[in-house]
């Protein structure tokens, strides 16, 4: 049985890596993958607490998150593909349409 603080530390590490990826990478695919990292960090947390507290709800939530993450990546990749078709680039700095 792995101790909870260890799991939490791992999860935090994983999440931080995701945050770094989201904020720092320019490639849209990399950003998507970084988002996956953050989601999985959450999953790790959920599973960890579920085991610790003997409560199945955490695992159920983790399954929800995996499903949502799968859908999200699906849509995200579709957007990236469209972006690439239109712009010939997936550099996220160039996609600044969400402004005034």
């Amino acid at each position: 049985m792995i101790r909870l603080p260890l799991i939490l530390f791992f999860s935090a590490l994983l999440f931080s890596a995701g945050v770094y990826g989201v904020l720092a990478r320019r490639n849209a695919i990399m950003v998507l993958m970084a988002i996956e990292l953050m989601l999985n960090a959450v999953n790790v947390n959920l599973i960890g607490f579920s085991a610790q507290l003997k409560d199945v709800n955490g695992q159920i939530f983790a399954l929800f998150v995996i499903a949502v993450a799968a859908a999200e990546v699906g849509i995200g990749l579709a957007i990236v593909i469209l972006l690439f078709r239109n712009r010939e680039s997936i550099n996220i700095d160039e996609v600044n349409l969400l402004k005034w």
């Binding site: 904020l23 720092a24 996220i92 700095d93 600044n96 969400l98 402004k99 005034w100």
Partner: protein, 653 residues
């Protein structure tokens, strides 16, 4: 109402209506009628003349006043006006004079106006003119009288300005109208006062006569009314100081002058005083004194002016002025003078018409008004000459012609009523009259012909009236002859018939004076001289007289031009630059104000609203920098926020 009323008197109202009818016929059908429409007027006047004689016959028989109730004309508030007639001896005598003279003038004009471009129009106005005068004569109320009075003014304007192509003629026409109109204003006020005296109930002459006797009406009120009424006489009968129009009125065709001077316009003024004599007698004595003073000034002043005239018609015009004042002066002497004054009007009408028509015949022959273009015409124009001689002697007052009797009667009355100074004025004027009459005759008919062309006797349409009027001139005087019972005095009187008396020494004196005047005239003008002998005899007076005492010039310079040119311009300037400027100024002010408002609106009110918008915009401009569109920045913000919240939660906990 004594005695029966004959048919002519009963239908006397037709007398003014017939000339009106003929005037209308002339106007509308004249040009299509053979003879260009003169026939209507002549026929109408011949009829009215006979009717007038019929009316006079009523009074010859010794019957009294005929004053039937008039037709109701209209009612306005309390005031009831009627159309009606008032026929007494004075009316009858005036009717005869007016219709006779007018008929003669109508006939005479056939020859005189022959070939005139506006022949038909001339006859139209002539008939209207006569009709207006007849209306004045027969009217039984003041308003009806005023209508005739003013219509006459307009007709005189049209007739004097008949040859309006010449500026001088139209000027004379305007002068005549305006001058008489100036007199008509006080006259109208006088009428208003008289109507007021009746309490605004009637305008009838009889009613007015009764009203002024009421004790409630003060003598001063009546005096004011009388003197205002006399204003009308001053204007129409050309008394000083409104006499200026009459000589200028000579610009009209000569028959018109005859009509104006003998029977209509100028006689109307005198008639007015007689018609409203009751008012004058009830006024305070100063009224009649004023009247006599004005008459005396006019009679002498005009007679002197007649001496220096070269225009034959002007000689006669001034003579008319002077003779009219005789009549007015006669009336001013009170009851006794009234008969005498009107008798002079009656006789004067005939001989003055004769003189004018004679002068017209001369002018017709020599084509000039100036006596310097005449002379020696007695051979070429014998009929004119002899009739003129009769007229002139009558004017000078030589026995047994008309003028002698009437002037004599006036002298007698002046002496009897103690108006000695008038007596003297009459005598002096008589001498001057005789003198200028002789001068006129000498310059026209004696000596050598000085004009151009070949003068010839006038056609029979012109000489006929001359002969007829000459016969009248010889005859009518006897109507007032005391030896024959002064018939005239039985017709025309105020309340009581006043039998004329014959005073031998007065008759002799007046004859001596007249003959003296004639003799001096004959002596002076016997030989033809280059310069008028009077010019040296009068010295500086000559110039003054030539300029008509400078009265005309004074009026023009002191009243007419300043009013017409300066005052009117000033008023109009005021209108444009003060009143209108106020309006335009108000408009400009409103527009200026609107600019201020617009500035205020744009800058302050709208500025505030816009300012709000702009502030919001610029603030947004600052904020928008944050929204870079870079998702990663957003995400960074998100994380920072989460961390901040997390720290906050932790610290709170």
């Amino acid at each position: 109402m004594a005695g029966s009323v004959n048919v002519f008197v009963r239908y006397a109202w037709l007398i003014p209506l017939l000339p009106i009818a003929s005037a209308c016929l002339t106007l509308f059908f004249g040009k299509r009628t053979p003879g260009r429409g003169a026939v209507y007027g002549i026929a109408a006047l011949a009829t009215t003349m006979l009717m007038s004689l019929g009316v006079l016959w009523h009074f010859v028989q010794g019957n009294g006043v005929y004053a039937p109730a008039g037709l109701e004309w209209f009612t306005i508030g309390p005031l009831r006006l009627e159309l009606g007639m008032y026929v007494d001896g004075l009316t009858a005598a005036m009717l005869v004079v007016v219709t006779t003279i007018s008929l003669m003038v109508h006939i005479y004009s056939l020859g005189y106006m022959h070939g005139d471009a506006r022949f038909t129009w001339f006859y139209f106005v002539l008939s209207m003119f006569t009709a207006a005068m007849l209306t004045v004569v027969i009217a039984n109320n003041l308003i009806e009288l005023l209508i005739g009075w003013e219509v006459m003014g307009v007709c005189s304007y049209l007739l004097i300005g008949h040859w309006y192509e010449e500026k001088q003629n139209s000027n004379a026409a305007i002068k005549a109208f305006i001058t008489t109109r100036i007199g008509d204003i006080p006259f109208m006020f006088g009428i208003i006062m008289l109507i007021a005296a009746t309490g605004f109930t009637t305008t009838n002459i009889v009613g007015v006569g009764e009203a002024i006797k009421e004790p409630a009406i003060s003598a001063l009120f009546v005096s004011m009314a009388a003197i205002l009424l006399f204003g009308g006489t001053i204007g129409k009968s050309a008394q000083f100081p409104l006499h200026v129009w009459l000589p200028d009125a000579m610009a009209g065709p000569t028959p018109v002058s005859a009509l104006i001077h003998a029977a209509t316009m100028v006689a109307a003024g005198v008639y007015l005083v007689g018609r409203l004599f009751e008012v004058f007698l009830h006024a305070e004595p100063w009224v009649l004194t004023t009247v006599s003073i004005i008459a005396a000034i006019t009679t002498l002043g005009a007679a002197l002016l007649a001496i220096v005239q070269d225009d034959i018609k002007r000689v006669l015009a001034y003579s008319t002025l002077s003779q009219l004042s005789y009549m007015v002066a006669g009336l001013s002497m009170g009851e006794e003078g009234m008969t005498a004054g009107f008798f002079h009007l009656f006789t004067h009408a005939f001989f003055k018409a004769l003189l004018f028509l004679g002068a017209g015949a001369v002018i017709h022959a020599v084509h000039s008004n100036d006596m310097s273009d005449m002379g020696g015409l007695r051979k070429q124009m014998p009929i004119t000459f002899w009739t003129m001689i009769i007229g002139s002697l009558a004017l000078a007052g030589i026995f047994p012609l008309a003028g002698f009797w009437s002037k004599d009667e006036l002298l007698v009355v002046a002496q009897e009523t103690g108006h000695t100074w008038l007596f003297v004025v009459f005598l002096v004027t008589a001498a001057i009259t005789a003198f200028y009459t002789m001068r006129m005759v000498m310059l026209t008919f004696f000596g050598d012909y000085r004009g151009h062309g070949h003068p010839h006797e006038a056609p029979s349409t012109m000489t006929g009236p001359l002969i007829f009027l000459a016969l009248c001139t010889v005859g009518v005087g006897f109507l007032g002859a005391p030896q024959l019972g002064s018939v005239f005095g039985d017709w025309v009187f105020f309340e009581q018939p006043h039998a004329g008396t014959f005073v031998a020494w007065i008759a002799l004196l007046s004859t001596v004076v007249a003959v003296g005047g004639l003799a001096v005239g004959y002596r002076l003008y016997q030989r033809r001289a280059e310069r008028d002998p009077m010019e040296s005899a009068l010295g500086p007076m000559w110039n003054v007289l030539q300029h008509r005492y400078y009265i005309d010039a004074f009026y023009m310079r002191a009243i007419i031009y300043p009013t017409r040119d300066t005052l009117s311009a000033a008023v109009y300037w005021t209108n444009q630059h003060v009143l209108d400027a106020a309006v335009n100024g108000a408009a400009a002010l409103a527009r200026g104000l609107s600019h201020v408002i617009m500035w205020f609106d744009r800058t302050i009110i709208d500025g505030f609203v816009n300012g709000l918008g702009e502030t919001a915009g610029s603030t947004g401009g600052l904020l928008k920098k944050v929204q870079s569109g870079n998702v990663q920045w957003y995400a960074a913000g998100l994380f920072v926020g989460v961390i901040a919240l997390a720290i906050a939660f932790i610290r709170i906990a």
